[in-house]
């Protein structure tokens, strides 16, 4: 909006921009393009810039409007062309359509004499309120580094062809309101470019002429926070990228000036596409992170990314469980000292120990003295048995069979390029045959001591190829519990550590049923808040992409959730943050669906609900470098009627926001599960109490 306002500093430009957008949108509609991108302006922002540009260049007359009509439609065509071409490489088309169309106009319009260049500043705000402009200019003149500030502001203004300080100032404020990170990026990017020119003694006239320096700013915002998740690293990368822009400006300027063409945002377009291509082709995504789901705000991109990272870490699409029943010990972890080396480093060995850490009962001379010997081995996930090697005898204790390194082995195919392999199994004890489909948890074999196995143990590895002895791949176990001093700890998507006593999670039916929200289901709550009672009605929906969400009809709020049988958790919320749904989204952010008294489940929340807006404003500036505000979530089991078959379960969750380590606000909640559903929800929001009861 602010940008639009600023463009109206020159009335002609503003008007022409609006008309161009309208033409663009109408064209898109007439050509039957999908409504969603039309509505969010994907097809028309290039037209807007084209409209503004030619509105500034040319006098309003009949032929001008003819030109505007043609160029707007042309821009739409160009947009479609580049959008399709670049989408295949998952790249944005940025302002390339605008550039091409504008060059076409500049090169082609000269031929049509009726298109007269309008004199500068006609219909401009500056003609009527000159004090406003000169005033701001003199004001800035008093600042230190006034020259740099002028250049910065005018460069900002130049984005929409307003080469004056006031426009720049407005845009700067606009950016600041839209995003603190974008604002600091704009200054940071500009400063790098400026200093590069300054220290390498570049010709500033290139920058001053049409204030081409906005390329620094646009690139900084695009690569520092929009397409790339803003972080220390993204800021650092700008130190290398912005000088490229400077060099490109210089190079292209000498080339384009001969044709009489302005560069506009060409350097920005080239470098951003270049950089994104390089990023996308990396062998492994690490360090700098591309924004996966565009939130259209550097802040949201940043917070969402780091929140997701903290919450789900290395969550994998395909879930695997531990391949056994009960509690086993990780006797050798990843990169183990004994055999988990080189290409086979990402493997896990398991055995069973007693309380003193021994793996056998005295005297431990026979296989059957070993606790894990002959224990059932289960399938870690659904899949097909693709390879079985059987017939290798168990070794006597202490002996190894290097000739048959892997011993009796079973390979299960879970999907293309994902296999699990279980080794050193007992001879003639396979419960499945090659080609069988096995379900997660099915007993497939028994633990033995065949192959390179001095004492009974189970070797487990994930691999990308179907062979016995394939190279291992790093693959976390989706969910498991570790037990230490009789206390359970819940882990999600972690690699079990060497020495840990680990077991699978057994879901409790009552919990599973209570959070089993199936599409079409309706939930009604009677809410009591401040002595007033109200109702909240939710419905469960599922998107075409199989994402499930709760939708509150009254407040039009949406809360996306996942229930994978072990965990119930919310992923996103859109809508009214005063709604009961939002409170529920916070209160039941992550629920463990197995009953493990004493087990704690920790999670992180976005800080929005906990930190006051002014502090968040300041925090946004610091966010790419460090977080001084946090919001943590914890879930615990409080009461249960029957530990083995819980029917009535009281869950407690507590979340609190902290700023510089000091607690700011907290949300406590108690969820009562009874009759296989969420019976009662009590939320205490700082001092406020909200009680909700499920009604039919």
């Amino acid at each position: 909006m602010l940008l639009l306002l600023v463009s109206f500093f020159d009335l002609g430009a503003g008007l022409s921009g609006v008309i161009a957008v309208l033409i663009g949108q109408i064209t898109a509609l007439l050509f039957n393009y999908p409504h969603a991108p039309i509505r969010d302006g994907t097809y028309s922002y290039n037209a807007l810039m084209v409209g503004i540009a030619i509105g500034i260049f040319y006098q309003f007359n009949f032929s001008f409007f003819t030109l505007l009509l043609i160029t707007s439609i042309l821009t739409f065509f160009m947009t479609i062309w580049f959008a399709t071409a670049l989408a295949r490489k998952n790249l944005p088309f940025l302002s390339i359509p605008f550039l091409l169309v504008l060059w076409i106009v500049i090169l082609g319009a000269g031929n049509f004499t009726a298109l007269q260049l309008s004199p500068k500043e006609s219909l401009s705000l500056a003609r009527y309120f000159p004090e406003l402009f000169t005033g701001s200019t003199t004001l800035i003149g008093r600042l230190p580094f006034a020259n740099a500030v002028y250049l910065y502001l005018r460069s900002l203004g130049a984005i929409i062809f307003q080469f004056n300080d006031l426009a720049g100032l407005f845009i700067a404020i606009g950016i600041l309101i839209y995003s603190r990170i974008a604002f600091s990026l704009s200054i940071f990017g500009f400063a790098i470019g400026y200093l590069f020119y300054y220290y390498l003694e570049g010709d500033f006239s290139q920058l001053i002429y049409s204030y081409i320096g906005f390329n620094f700013i646009l690139t900084a915002i695009a690569l520092g926070g929009f397409f790339v998740v803003p972080s220390r690293k993204s800021f650092f990368s700008l130190l290398l990228v912005i000088p490229m822009i400077a060099l490109l400006i210089s190079a292209l300027d000498s080339l384009f000036s001969q044709a009489g063409l302005p560069l506009y945002s060409l350097p920005f377009n080239i470098v951003v596409l270049l950089f994104l291509t390089v990023m996308a082709q990396r062998y492994r995504a690490g360090g700098l992170q591309l924004v996966a789901v565009q939130q259209f705000s550097p802040e949201k991109n940043h917070y969402k990314f780091y929140n997701t990272l903290e919450r789900f870490r290395s969550a994998t699409f395909f879930q695997i469980a531990l391949p056994f029943i009960g509690t086993w010990r990780v006797s050798q972890g990843y990169d183990g000292e004994i055999t988990h080396k080189d290409d086979w480093a990402q493997a896990l060995d398991f055995d069973v120990t007693d309380d003193s850490g021994k793996t056998f009962r005295e005297p431990g001379l026979q296989l059957k003295d070993y606790y894990c010997y002959d224990l059932p081995v289960t399938a870690p996930a659904d899949g097909w048995v693709v390879e079985i090697l059987d017939g290798i005898d168990d070794n006597a204790i202490g002996e190894v069979d290097i000739e048959h390194n892997w011993g009796n082995t079973l390979v299960i195919k879970h999907s293309e390029y994902l296999f699990s392999s279980l080794s050193h199994l007992k001879k003639d004890a396979f419960q499945v045959k090659k080609g069988d489909f096995v379900r997660k948890g099915d007993i497939v074999a028994y633990c033995g001591s065949s192959g390179r196995s001095p004492e009974p143990h189970l070797h487990f590895q994930m691999q990308a190829t179907p062979y016995i002895g394939s190279k291992t791949i790093e693959y976390p176990v989706s969910y498991f519990l570790s037990k230490e001093n009789g206390h359970y700890r819940f882990h999600s998507y972690e690699i079990p550590e060497e020495g840990a006593q680990v077991s699978n999670v057994q879901p409790a039916k009552a919990l599973k049923n209570a959070f089993h929200f199936i599409p079409g289901m309706r939930l009604h709550f009677e809410i009591e808040e401040d002595g007033q009672s109200s109702r909240s009605d939710w419905e469960v929906f599922v998107t075409a992409g199989n994402l499930t969400y709760l939708y509150c009809h009254d407040t039009k709020s949406t809360a996306y959730f996942v229930n994978d049988g072990t965990l119930f958790y919310f992923t996103d919320f859109y809508g009214d943050k005063r709604s009961f749904l939002y409170r529920f989204y916070l209160a039941a952010h992550k629920i463990l669906l197995g009953y493990y008294p004493g087990a704690e489940l920790n999670d992180r929340l976005l800080i929005d609900a906990f930190i006051p807006a002014p502090i968040r404003f300041v925090h946004d500036f610091a966010a790419p470098f460090f977080h001084f505000c946090r919001a943590a979530y914890r879930m615990q089991f409080k009461e249960v009627d029957d530990e083995q078959h819980p029917g009535r379960i009281l869950l407690g969750t507590a979340s609190h926001g902290s700023c510089l380590g000091r607690e700011c606000s907290r949300i406590g909640a108690e969820l009562l599960i009874e009759n296989n559903r969420l019976e009662k929800i009590e939320i205490s929001l700082n001092r406020k109490k909200i009680k909700a009861r499920c009604i039919d």
């Binding site: 009960g326 509690t327 086993w328 069973v352 007693d354 309380d355 059957k368 059932p376 007993i443 057994q506």
Partner: protein, 457 residues
């Protein structure tokens, strides 16, 4: 061990033995002459000095080891396992509490044991109440407490329905099922038979009446079972009932109680092999039960809990009886006999087992076949009809093994009073867990009618 070095070598009388040169029998000679001088690091001699002879000794370390072993063995084969300590096997409170500390519930078969469990602090809803003799009052108490009642016969079922109506409560119950597992004789005196439809009859009555909450199924196929596969058959039949109930009444059974009956390492009388060789490992029973239940076809979400009432196998080898030689005697047929200071009144299991007996002091390698008698002046008092032991002198000590199960609960004051029972804790400290009986203990409840007060001899 220092004590041992300092000890003077004891005198051993000479023995005359026929020399069987070159005639090796297939199994070698059963010699049991490794001396057992210490239990959990505490010397037998010092124990007897401190607490007298005879003396029952329990090893806390061994008990905990046993239950943890058993739990681990089952829990690594089946995901939901609950042990319940069988009070009748050994109801000394200290022993029970060790099991409760290890997470075991209580399994009782009378109101007496029920009250003991309550007294030990077991939450009543974690008590399994078995047995054919539960009076109306017993049932009322357990209904009130929400304990798990395992119904044994139809009369009990009818009475319990009446009590439930009268108390306006829906008791949580299981029925005891008996069945043919291929091991004979069939234990069909307890519970409802599977094959002839009695079990279904009881289930239908419970479900149709809707006064009782049928949440479990219980069986106990026998005792000292040497055939693990019988448990596999039993578990399959139990699972079949549970799945049938699910199908017919849409009710999931919460638990299947497989009872007890696992053998300990004792040697049964008449057994050809030693118990340690003949008796299956607990893992073999576990494999059978878990395999049968996991393969039965339960929904993963509705897998019933597996309850186990294992008694003997968890406590037998943790109990020792220390005793002292009273005298040696040559019998008329020339056999040697030794009279010990403990008899069948406190070692009841001597009727079933050939208990392993070890001397508690060093001796030479010469042994002789001996009859071990108890001190009671009664012909039945025989500890071992025939045991190969080194010659023992009066005052020498012996250790009887595998006495932890059933002796404490079945012993009596026949002819003699019962001795001290001590527990050696994990640190090697010994504690009396039941004091030796006094005259007062035995006579406290006796009453003398007035006309019998006085007499003249």
């Amino acid at each position: 061990m220092k004590e041992k070095e300092m000890e003077k070598k004891s005198y051993e009388r000479p023995v005359i033995k026929p020399l069987n040169s070159g005639l090796m029998n297939k199994f070698g000679t059963r010699t049991e002459y490794t001396p057992v001088t210490h239990i959990d690091g505490v010397s037998v001699k010092s124990l007897i000095e401190e607490y007298g002879s005879p003396l029952f000794v329990f090893s806390e370390r061994k008990i905990r080891e046993n239950i943890r072993d058993a739990k681990r063995i089952f829990e690594t084969r089946y995901p939901k396992v609950q042990f319940a300590w069988s009070y009748k096997t050994n109801y000394l409170n200290a022993i029970c509490k060790i099991f409760h500390q290890e997470g075991s519930w209580a399994e009782v078969v009378s109101i007496f044991e029920y009250k003991k469990a309550i007294g030990n602090g077991v939450p009543p809803e974690k008590i399994l109440f078995n047995g054919p003799d539960k009076t109306d009052d017993d049932l009322r108490i357990s209904v009130k407490n929400d304990s798990l009642i395992h119904i044994d016969h139809l009369d009990e079922l009818y009475r319990l329905i009446e009590i439930a109506e009268e108390m306006h409560k829906k008791p949580r119950v299981a029925i005891r099922v008996n069945m043919d597992t291929g091991v004979y004789p069939i234990w069909d005196r307890f519970g409802f038979n599977y094959e002839n439809g009695q079990a279904w009859d009881a289930i239908n009555k419970i479900m149709a009446g809707d006064k009782l909450n049928l949440i479990g199924l219980h069986c106990h196929i026998g005792t000292y079972m040497l055939t693990p596969s019988a448990y596999g058959i039993a578990a399959s039949k139990m699972a079949d009932l549970a799945l049938g109930i699910r199908k017919r009444y849409q009710k999931s059974i919460s638990y299947i109680d497989m009872g007890g009956g696992f053998a300990s390492k004792n040697t049964l009388k008449g057994s050809y092999q030693l118990g340690t060789d003949a008796v299956p490992e607990i893992s073999e029973y576990a494999e059978q039960i878990a395999g049968a239940l996991l393969n039965a076809g339960f929904d993963t979400d509705e897998l019933p809990y597996l309850y186990l009432e294992t008694g003997r196998a968890l406590i037998d080898d943790a109990g020792f009886l220390l005793g002292t030689v009273i005298s040696n005697k040559r019998l008329s047929d020339g056999r040697r006999s030794t009279i010990m200071d403990f008899g069948v009144n406190i070692l009841f299991t001597a009727f079933w087992y050939d208990h392993k007996v070890s001397p508690a002091q060093e001796f030479s390698r010469f042994t002789e076949d001996t009859v071990l008698y108890g001190p009671l002046c009664m012909n039945i008092d025989v500890i071992r009809e025939n045991v190969t032991l080194p010659p023992l002198n009066a005052g020498d000590h012996v250790v009887v093994h595998f006495v932890g199960a059933y002796n404490i609960t079945q012993s009596m004051q026949f002819i003699a009073l019962r001795p001290n029972v001590v527990l050696i804790d994990l640190k090697g400290e010994s504690h009396i867990i039941r004091k030796a009986e006094s005259m007062d203990d035995v006579e406290r409840n006796e009453r003398i009618p007035a006309h019998l007060e006085n007499f003249k001899l």
